[in-house]
């Protein structure tokens, strides 16, 4: 099953909405709660990254009986050095974003921890695509 949500850059009051909607769906599909937890954490971090760092984006989630595939694409500044961005504690978040309680530089490493596969592709000044997979029935 396919689900899609738009994500608006800079709108912190709505950050987390798309992840919450997906969470509801996963609960209804009776997916293992441990998997739901991991998936929702990863989605939330990726969603907030769009809100905090990009201009506009989209969340796509495909739920299958054996896996959940998630893709977040955005139009934004892109990531120059993905390896560096993955490091714990690395952040380019602005002071405003930090004041909102984000910008610890933990998001991407948290995503890595909570998913089975993670691919990030990015073009500077164009945008970023984050693809994540979580396998079911492995808990």
């Amino acid at each position: 099953m396919h689900f899609e949500h738009e994500i608006e850059g800079g709108n912190f009051s709505q950050a987390g909405f798309a992840s919450s909607e997906i969470k509801k769906v996963l609960k209804q599909l009776n997916i293992n709660i441990k998997v739901i937890k991991r998936v929702v954490v990863a989605l939330y971090e990726a969603e907030v990254n769009i809100v905090a760092h990009a201009y506009h984006g989209k969340m796509e989630v495909d739920v299958d009986t054996d896996k959940i595939f998630m893709r977040l694409t955005d139009k934004g500044p892109g990531i120059e050095n993905i390896e560096k961005a993955m490091e714990e504690g690395y952040s380019t978040a602005s002071t405003e974003v930090r004041e909102m309680g984000f910008g610890a530089g933990m998001g991407l490493s948290n995503i890595k921890k909570n998913t089975d596969e993670l691919y990030i592709t990015s073009k500077v000044d164009k945008g970023t695509t984050v693809e994540m997979t979580a396998y079911l029935n492995r808990e």
Binding site: K23, K27, L29, K34, K37, Y44, L136
Partner: protein, 452 residues
């Protein structure tokens, strides 16, 4: 496998119910539907929070208590009284007078529940230390919240602290104390004067415990009326002293908002009101909230001072208990005066403090089987597109979305939607008579027979 039965203290009286939509639309777990002109409760969704009881315009929702005469089946009849009972009365009625009325009603012992909180405060802090990997930990105090988490936030069940609430600790303590005086355990009946339906459910079908140490429950509104009329007849001098020492200032406030959180080390938050709690748990489940150590969550606004069986005003009750705590603090009671001897039982109680794992029982899932659940979800999506998004509840389900799910689960028909009926009538698929028949099935005969 037998389906587990959940005891609910909330019952709908079919004779009194007028089949309106108040309870259905306010229920936080969508546990109510209207069929044949009467509200019906779905057992495995109800969490006994009592929101329906508050809004029912004709008092058709009943909180089932034990027959008062059940206390006389026991030779030793203990009334376990929560502080909020006392907090409801104006200052002119003393604690002693209240106790005296309870003795006149037939109890042989009257004890305050809150003594159990002193043991719990220390135990909770130890538990926090021993479970550093789980954060935030959630209090097990309010049974409606424990049930809410089980049915609606299954991913959070492991955050619930596996310790008994003060009520169970107090009950264990008083029972053991009497047994140690040489009294036969079978002769002791412990009765809790409850401020809410949730606590009744917790006594009758406990979560994480095989059996509750409490033998029966008496609704607080019943006792309130007896005390109000009885207290004035009892002179202040002739009345009885509380059986044990007086509670500590901290424990007197335990059941109020922040009463618990204030005693827990670390970053704690206290949230009251079921809808506030739900909003917060949604965020917590997404791990949007970090670095919180402890959550005190209560179903009622102003916590137990706002319990559904509390007759007094919740803000005044809170005020009076805070004043009482202030008084207790200023008197600087000695240890033996406050502990009521509970400290002697510390070791025994510590051994009996734990509850077992709390199991999720999600009501959210559309089907056990994921492939089936996906099919059902697709159908819900298709049905939703046909429904008007009005959430008028005229179909007998609380929202359009709930109707769509009910249809998919085989518990309702799309014809129950009045907008669909109109469209079908226009297209000639449905006759006016048929539409009338459907409405009768939901709302009963008389709502379609009004004189006008």
């Amino acid at each position: 496998m037998n389906k587990p039965k959940f005891h609910h203290a909330l019952k709908i009286s079919k004779d009194i119910c007028i089949g309106c939509t108040h309870c259905m639309t306010v229920c936080p777990t969508e546990a109510i539907r209207v069929r044949n002109g009467k509200a019906e409760l779905t057992d495995n969704r109800c969490i006994d929070c009592g929101e329906c009881f508050r809004v029912c315009p004709v008092n058709a929702i009943i909180i089932e208590q034990d027959d008062f005469n059940k206390i006389f089946e026991y030779k030793y009849r203990v009334a376990l009284v929560p502080a909020v009972l006392i907090g409801q009365f104006p200052a002119e009625i003393s604690t002693r007078q209240i106790y005296s009325v309870l003795m006149e009603l037939g109890f042989t012992h009257v004890y305050e529940v809150e003594h159990g909180a002193d043991i719990l405060s220390e135990a909770s802090n130890d538990y926090m230390q021993d479970h550093k990997e789980t954060r935030p930990l959630i209090s097990s105090f309010c049974p409606a919240i424990v049930r809410l988490i089980q049915v609606k936030f299954p991913a959070l069940v492991d955050n619930i602290i596996h310790l008994k609430p003060p009520l169970d600790i107090a009950a264990l303590y008083y029972k053991q104390q009497l047994v140690d005086q040489g009294i036969d355990e079978d002769e002791i009946g412990i009765f809790y004067i409850t401020p809410c339906a949730a606590k009744i459910a917790a006594v009758k079908s406990p979560v994480g415990e095989k059996q509750s140490p409490i033998n029966g429950v008496i609704n607080m509104d019943f006792v309130y009326n007896k005390v109000y009329t009885g207290a004035k007849k009892i002179s202040k001098d002739s009345c009885i002293l509380p059986g044990t020492g007086r509670p500590t200032a901290e424990s007197v406030c335990w059941s109020l908002t922040n009463g618990e959180a204030e005693n827990i080390e670390g970053r704690t938050l206290a949230i009251d009101g079921i809808h506030n709690v739900i909003e917060f748990l949604e965020k917590l489940e997404n791990e949007e909230l970090k670095d919180i150590d402890f959550l005190e969550l209560r179903a009622c606004d102003e916590s137990c001072a706002g319990g559904v069986l509390i007759s007094g005003n919740r803000f005044l009750t809170t005020e009076r208990l805070k004043n009482r705590a202030g008084q207790l603090k200023s008197e600087q009671l000695k240890e033996q005066e406050t502990s009521g001897g509970i400290s002697k039982y510390q070791a025994y109680l510590s051994d009996h403090l734990n509850i077992s794992k709390v199991h999720p029982r999600s009501m959210m899932k559309l089907d056990e089987n994921m492939t089936e659940a996906m099919k059902k979800m697709k159908r819900v999506g298709e049905i939703i597109k046909c429904l008007p998004d009005v959430d008028c509840a005229a179909c007998g389900s609380p929202t359009c979305h709930a109707l769509a799910e009910d249809i998919v689960q085989g518990e309702a028909d799309i014809n129950q939607c009045i907008f669909i009926q109109r469209m079908f009538e226009e297209k000639g698929i449905l006759s006016t008579d048929d539409a009338r028949g459907i409405m009768k099935q939901i709302w009963g005969d008389d709502k379609l027979k009004r004189n006008c």
